[in-house]
Symmetry: D2
Subunit: 93 residues, 4 copies
Amino acid sequence: MAGYADDQEAIQRRLRRIEGQIRGVQRMVAEGAYCIDVLTQISAATRALESVALLLLEDHLNHCVREALAVGGPDADGKVSEAAAAIARLVRS
Amino acid sequence: MAGYADDQEAIQRRLRRIEGQIRGVQRMVAEGAYCIDVLTQISAATRALESVALLLLEDHLNHCVREALAVGGPDADGKVSEAAAAIARLVRS
Amino acid sequence: MAGYADDQEAIQRRLRRIEGQIRGVQRMVAEGAYCIDVLTQISAATRALESVALLLLEDHLNHCVREALAVGGPDADGKVSEAAAAIARLVRS
Amino acid sequence: MAGYADDQEAIQRRLRRIEGQIRGVQRMVAEGAYCIDVLTQISAATRALESVALLLLEDHLNHCVREALAVGGPDADGKVSEAAAAIARLVRS
């Protein structure tokens, strides 16, 4: 079971809203909306995506990493480095 | 005419690809894909959104800001502060 | 004359404060302070550096880019691409 | 003992180098260096600070969070939310 199972519906709702934001940006671009207004909507969609990522990451720490650490051994080390690499990708994106 | 008129098609193509990425993330979440794989796709979509924003911003500087600066006066000052505020939102998102 | 000439003192003051924050982080690490407290200070220093960068960028648009655009020609194009590349480095760092 | 005990020397070395970068930026600003060159150095210092933060975070997950999860109970929950909040500050800074 995925680490985000309890938040699956909330995550899907947020992703559908982000999909709607991206479609809204396409409509603005099609209508030739003012650059700054398009940029404002893109910044909002970017922040919304980051929030979903942070929620997924917290769920991952709380479930997948927690369970691996409870068992211990090399799998526990692997889970922590894997989470650290995902955090690095988020911080740098 | 919008500052991004020459890139309008390329921007729409990229936005449609990002919309597809977001729908792909929804499918992954629906199927209970592994958290880290979902996060990797979200980071990719975030970076793609940022690239579109950077292209829009360069077009905006090259057209809207350039024209306002050619005319000069208070409108030129306003355009520069407005662009600076949009850059700040991007950097902080 | 640099584009930030009018803000030179304010920028130096902020950079000295950031230098002090970095030295403070070194003291915390030397004393074995709690990881999360060290991270909080590093996030604060990062945000302060970003604010200085945003001020420099606005000054750059307001002076160097504005002057190049007033003259026009290939130098104007070069200044806009150069600014766009600096913005991309900021957004991705 | 801090979670970063094994990396304490490497972290201090990196922080001293970042302090040197900030002082280098101050010298550039004092000499009226070109805005874009100053911005490039600030982006480099920002990225270096982020790398230190990511190392501290991995150490924190590997030691402090791991130990709290091994013990379990409310302290384990607290450690995960605390780490998630620190990650959010990093991603948004």
